[in-house]
C-alpha cells in the first residue's frame, strides 16, 4: 500500500512537471515570442518573463532572437565605375523589429530563410552601389579620398528601403565592408606589376651604385694625376735647380775650351758606344792601323 502511494506521488509529480512544461513557457530578455492559436498569430511577446499558454496543438509558441544577428555575404565580383573588377564582401547586422510581421513571411520564422532573402537584396544593392564608384573610392593612397562610409551607407539605405517596402519585420542595424579583393587573373597582373616595380628599383640601385663607383674612381684618378703632375713639376723644377747649380762651374771649362771639347767628344763617344754597336774599321783607323804593314795574301800589283 505504501509502495503504491509512493508510485502515485511520483506519478503526480511527473504529471505536474509535464503539465507545467505544456502550459508555461519563458521568454528571455534576448528573445521575442509569437504565440499562434491554431496557426493564427495572436500574441506578440517582447518583454521577458514566464507566460501561460494552451498546450499544443491549440497554441504554439515561436521564439526569435531579438538581438542583432550577423552574417556576411559571399565574396562576389563587381565592376566599378572605371571598369575595374573588384571583389567585395560585406557583413550585415540585422534584427527582428516586428516579430508578428516577420513570423509569417519566413516559413515559421526561419532566420535562415530571412538571411537568404537578405543576402539576395544585399548582393543586388552591393553591385549597384559598387558600379557607381571608381576604384579610387575604395583604395587610395590619400586616405581622405576614400569613400568607405558613403559606400556602406548607400548599400545599407538600398537594402533598408527594400525591407521597409516589403514590410518584412526586420531592419538593418549596421553594414560594413569586410573584405576587398581582385579576381585571380587581375591578381596575377598586379603581382607582375609589383615585380616590375621591384625590378625598377633593382636597376636603379644597381646603376646608381655603378655610377657612384665610377664617380669615385674618376675623382680618385683625377686626384692621383694631379698629385703626379704636381710632383713632376716639382721634380722638373728641382732638376733645373740642379742644372743651374751645375752651370755655375762652366767658367772653369772655359779656361781651355779645346781640351773641354776633346773631353766632351770622348765622353760622347763612350756614351754612344754603351749600347750594342757594331763597328766597322778599315786598316787606317787607329789603333788598327797597326795591321797595315802586316803580310797578307793580297795579290801583288
Amino acid at each position: 500500500m505504501k509502495r503504491n502511494a509512493m508510485t502515485v506521488v511520483i506519478g503526480t509529480v511527473l504529471i505536474v512537471i509535464f503539465a507545467l512544461l505544456l502550459f508555461v513557457f519563458q521568454v528571455r530578455q534576448s528573445e521575442v515570442a509569437v504565440v499562434t492559436t491554431f496557426g493564427r498569430p495572436t500574441r506578440n511577446l517582447t518583454e521577458p518573463g514566464a507566460y501561460c499558454k494552451w498546450p499544443w496543438p491549440v497554441e504554439k509558441v515561436y521564439k526569435f532572437d531579438q538581438r542583432v544577428q550577423n552574417f556576411e555575404d559571399r565574396f562576389s565580383q563587381n565592376l566599378t565605375a572605371d571598369n575595374n573588377n573588384l571583389l567585395v564582401m560585406v557583413y550585415v547586422g540585422w534584427k527582428i523589429t516586428d516579430a508578428k510581421a516577420f513570423f509569417p513571411k519566413f516559413a515559421g520564422g526561419s532566420t535562415l530563410a530571412a538571411q537568404s532573402m537578405l543576402e539576395s537584396m544585399l548582393r543586388s544593392a552591393k553591385s549597384a552601389v559598387v558600379g557607381k564608384h571608381p576604384l579610387a573610392d575604395f583604395v587610395n593612397a590619400d586616405a581622405k579620398q576614400l569613400k568607405f562610409n558613403a559606400i556602406e551607407n548607400e548599400i545599407e539605405q538600398a537594402v533598408q528601403s527594400q525591407l521597409q517596402t516589403n514590410n518584412c519585420g526586420i531592419g538593418i542595424a549596421f553594414l560594413g565592408i569586410k573584405k576587398l579583393g581582385l579576381p585571380e587573373n587581375v591578381t596575377q597582373t598586379v603581382f607582375q606589376r609589383m615585380t616590375s616595380e621591384r625590378q625598377i628599383l633593382i636597376s636603379q640601385f644597381e646603376f646608381e651604385g655603378e655610377a657612384e663607383a665610377q664617380k669615385i674612381r674618376s675623382a680618385a684618378e683625377r686626384q692621383a694625376a694631379e698629385t703626379i703632375a704636381n710632383a713632376d713639376a716639382a721634380a722638373t723644377r728641382i732638376r733645373g735647380e740642379g742644372e743651374a747649380e751645375a752651370a755655375k762651374v762652366l767658367p772653369v771649362f772655359q779656361q781651355n775650351p779645346e781640351l773641354e771639347n776633346f773631353l766632351l767628344r770622348i765622353g760622347a763617344l763612350q756614351q754612344s758606344l754603351n749600347q750594342r754597336a757594331t763597328l766597322i774599321f778599315d786598316e787606317r783607323t787607329p789603333p788598327f792601323d797597326l795591321f797595315q804593314h802586316l803580310p797578307t795574301n793580297a795579290p801583288s800589283r
Binding site: I15, V190, S196, R198, A213, I216, R237, E241, N297
Partner: protein, 628 residues
C-alpha cells in the same frame, strides 16, 4: 480470469501500437535521434504484444476445446470417438502446437532481423551531421514523450504485476516491452531536454546507446534461437516463448536484480542476506530513494559557483536580474533561475588576415618568401600605377593592372569583456561581430595607405591607429568590450612577389658594395699617386744633387787636366783617345777590313732582331776559324 488475460494482452497490443505511432510522429516532428531508437523499440514491442496476444488466443481456444470435449465425455460417457488422440479431434491444440513449432521460431528470426537491421540503420543515420533536435519544437515533444513514458509506465507496471500470476506468463513479454519502453521514452525526453539546457549532444549519445541496446537484443535473440534448437522438449513442461527477451525483462524490472543478487548473496554467505533489514529497506524504498535523488538534483541547481575570471548573468524567468561575480551564490532552482557564464577577465584573442597552421607554426624562421600560415591578401594603395602586358593570357589583350598592390598581414587582436550585460544582450554573436568590425577597420586602413609606407616607417603608427579605430567601432555598437592589443606582427608582400622585394634589398647592398669598392680603389690610387710623386721629387732631388756635385767634381778634374794637356797636348790627347776607345768599344762587335787576295763582299744585316734566339748566343770562336 483467463478472459482477462486475453483482454490485458489486447490492451497492451493496442497501447503499444498507438504509442509507437505517436512516438514515431513526434520523433519526426522534433527530429530526435534518441526518439528514433525509442520508436524502433516500441515498434518491436507492438510486434511482441501481437505475438503474445495471438498465442494467448490459441491457448484460450485450446482450453475451451478441452472443456467442451470433457463436457461431452461426461454427458455421453466414454466413447472411442472422444478418447482418440487424433489431431483432427483437437484442432485448437493442433493449431497451438503448429504455432509454437513454426510461427514462434520464425517470429524470433524476424525479431532478430528487425533488431539487427534497426541497430545498423540507426547507427548509420545518426552519423549524419545534419541530424539534430529542432530547438523550437523541443518543449512540446519533451512533454509528449513524458506523457508516453507515464502511460507506458502505469500500464507496464500493472501488466508486469499480473504477469506473475499463474497462466499469465504470455503477458510478460509485452509487459516488459511496455515498461522498458516507458523508461526509453523518459530517456528520449531527457535527450530532447538536453537541447534546451545547451547540451545538444545528449540526444546523440543516447541514440548511440539505444543502437547498442538493439544490437544486444539482436545478439540475445540469436543466442536464444540457437539454444532453442537444442532445448530438451519435456512433455508437459511449459517453455518460455522465444520472443520473451530476458534482456528487456531485466531492463523493465531492474529490481529483479535485487532478487538475483539476494539469491547470490544468500548462497555466498550461507544465511538469508536478503532478509536483513538493510536489504529489505533498500528494496522497499528504492522509488523513494530515486525521488530523493531527483530532489537533491533539483536543489543542487540552487547553488552556483562562479570561477575566477568569470561573470554570470542571472535570469529569472528570462528576465536579467543581476550579474554574479566569482564565488558561491544561491538562486531559485531550475527552470525559474538560469545563469549564463562569460569569461570577462580572461584576455581573448582572434586573428585577422591569417589562419594559424600547426605545421608552419613550428618553423623556427619566418621568411616572407615562405608561407607560414594560411594567409589572405589585402588591397593597399599604390602611388605609381603602371600598365603592363599580361604574358600569361593566350590573347594579346593588355590587362590593366589596377593602381593597387597586395599585402599580407597577420594581426592578432586581444580583447576583454568589460560590460557583460551589453556583451550578452546586444548581439547574438558578439565575438563574430567584433571580428567583423576589426577586419573592416583593417581593410579600411590598408586601403588608404601606401604599401611601402605601411611596411616600413608607419608600422607602429598603424598598430596604434587600428587599435583606436577598432575600439571606437566597438563602442559605437555597444559591445561592452575593450581592445587591449592590436599587433602588426607580420606585414609583408605576398609570397609570390616577396622574392623580388628581397632582390631589391640585395640590389641596394650591391650598390653599397660597388661604392665601397670604388672608395677602396680611390684610396689605393691616391696612395700610389702620392708615393709616385714622392719618388719623383726624391729622384729630382737626387738628380739635382748629382748634377751639382758632378759639376763640381768635373770642374776640379778639368782644372787638374789643364796642366797635363798643356804639357803634352798630342800625347795627352792620344792617350785619352785610346783609353776612351778601348773602354768604349770593349763591348762592341768590331769588323776590321783588311786588304786580302780575294774580292769579298760583306753583307751586314743591321736590322734589329725581334727577339733573342739561340743564334744570338755568344759562342766562343773555334781556333779553326779566323776572323775575316
Amino acid at each position: 480470469m483467463e478472459r482477462n488475460v486475453q483482454k490485458n494482452g489486447l490492451v497492451n497490443l493496442v497501447a503499444a501500437v498507438m504509442i509507437f505511432i505517436a512516438a514515431f510522429v513526434v520523433t519526426c516532428f522534433v527530429n530526435s535521434l534518441a526518439g528514433q531508437g525509442c520508436s524502433i523499440f516500441l515498434g518491436l514491442g507492438a510486434l511482441v504484444a501481437f505475438a503474445g496476444w495471438f498465442q494467448m488466443r490459441l491457448e484460450e481456444n485450446e482450453r475451451l476445446e478441452k472443456l467442451e470435449v470433457e463436457e461431452l465425455a461426461r454427458a455421453k460417457g466414454e466413447s472411442t470417438l472422444f478418447t482418440s488422440k487424433d489431431a483432427e479431434v483437437f484442432p485448437a491444440q493442433r493449431a497451438r502446437e503448429q504455432f509454437e513449432k513454426y510461427f514462434v521460431p520464425g517470429f524470433g528470426v524476424l525479431l532478430f532481423l528487425l533488431e539487427a537491421g534497426g541497430a545498423w540503420l540507426l547507427w548509420r543515420w545518426i552519423a549524419k551531421p545534419a541530424n539534430g533536435v529542432a530547438p523550437d519544437r523541443a518543449m512540446p515533444s519533451l512533454a509528449l514523450f513524458g506523457i508516453f513514458a507515464l502511460l507506458l509506465f502505469l500500464l507496464g507496471r500493472f501488466s508486469v504485476t499480473i504477469a506473475r500470476l499463474e497462466n499469465h506468463r504470455l503477458l510478460r513479454p509485452s509487459a516488459s516491452f511496455l515498461l522498458a519502453g516507458a523508461y526509453l521514452c523518459f530517456v528520449t525526453a531527457l535527450g530532447i531536454a538536453g537541447v534546451k539546457v545547451d547540451f545538444p549532444k545528449v540526444d546523440f549519445y543516447l541514440a548511440r546507446a539505444l543502437c547498442v541496446l538493439l544490437g544486444l537484443m539482436a545478439a540475445e535473440m540469436l543466442g536464444t534461437l540457437l539454444l532453442e534448437i537444442y532445448r530438451p522438449r519435456v512433455k508437459g513442461r511449459v517453455a518460455r516463448p522465444v520472443y520473451d527477451s530476458r534482456l528487456v525483462g531485466l531492463l523493465a524490472q531492474p529490481e529483479s536484480l535485487f532478487t538475483t543478487a539476494a539469491q547470490a548473496l544468500d548462497y555466498q554467505f550461507g544465511f538469508k542476506v536478503s532478509e536483513t533489514w538493510f536489504f529489505q529497506l533498500l528494496q522497499k524504498n528504492l522509488p523513494l530513494l530515486v525521488l530523493a535523488q531527483l530532489v537533491v538534483l533539483l536543489l543542487s541547481t540552487c547553488v552556483v559557483f562562479i570561477d575566477a575570471g568569470e561573470q554570470a548573468v542571472l535570469e529569472r524567468f528570462g528576465r536579467p536580474v543581476g550579474v554574479l561575480e566569482p564565488g558561491a551564490h544561491f538562486k531559485l532552482p531550475w527552470p525559474a533561475d538560469r545563469i549564463y557564464l562569460y569569461r570577462t577577465d580572461q584576455i581573448q584573442t582572434f586573428d585577422i588576415g591569417f589562419t594559424p597552421d600547426a605545421q608552419s607554426e613550428q618553423a623556427k624562421t619566418i621568411l616572407w618568401s615562405v608561407s607560414h600560415s594560411k594567409e589572405e591578401n589585402f588591397l593597399v594603395a599604390n602611388r605609381e600605377p603602371v600598365t603592363i602586358r599580361n604574358e600569361n593570357t593566350d590573347t594579346n589583350d593588355t590587362l590593366k593592372a589596377p593602381p593597387v598592390s597586395l599585402i599580407t598581414v597577420s594581426i592578432p587582436v586581444q580583447f576583454q569583456i568589460t560590460n557583460v550585460l551589453a556583451w550578452a544582450y546586444t548581439n547574438a554573436e558578439p565575438t563574430n561581430l567584433l571580428q567583423d568590425l576589426a577586419t573592416r577597420e583593417v581593410v579600411h586602413y590598408l586601403a588608404g595607405v601606401d604599401l611601402n609606407d605601411v611596411m616600413s616607417h608607419m608600422r607602429l603608427e598603424a598598430a596604434r591607429d587600428l587599435r583606436l579605430q577598432i575600439q571606437a567601432a566597438v563602442d559605437e555598437y555597444h559591445l561592452g568590450a575593450k581592445i587591449i592589443f592590436v599587433g602588426l606582427q607580420d606585414i609583408h608582400p605576398p609570397v609570390k612577389v616577396a622574392g623580388d622585394y628581397e632582390k631589391v634589398v640585395g640590389a641596394e647592398q650591391t650598390k653599397l658594395a660597388k661604392i665601397l669598392d670604388a672608395r677602396a680603389m680611390a684610396i689605393r690610387t691616391n696612395a700610389l699617386a702620392g708615393a709616385r710623386a714622392f719618388t719623383m721629387t726624391n729622384v729630382a732631388d737626387a738628380t739635382r744633387q748629382r748634377l751639382s756635385v758632378s759639376a763640381l767634381a768635373s770642374a776640379a778634374l778639368f782644372t787638374n787636366q789643364i796642366p797635363a794637356f798643356a804639357a803634352a797636348p798630342s800625347v795627352y790627347r792620344q792617350r785619352k783617345y785610346f783609353q776612351a776607345f778601348a773602354d768604349a768599344t770593349a763591348g762592341a762587335r768590331k769588323y776590321i777590313l783588311l786588304v786580302t787576295n780575294t774580292q769579298d763582299v760583306v753583307i751586314f744585316d743591321l736590322e734589329d732582331k725581334i727577339r733573342e734566339d739561340l743564334l744570338n748566343l755568344n759562342v766562343p770562336s773555334s781556333p779553326n776559324h779566323s776572323s775575316p
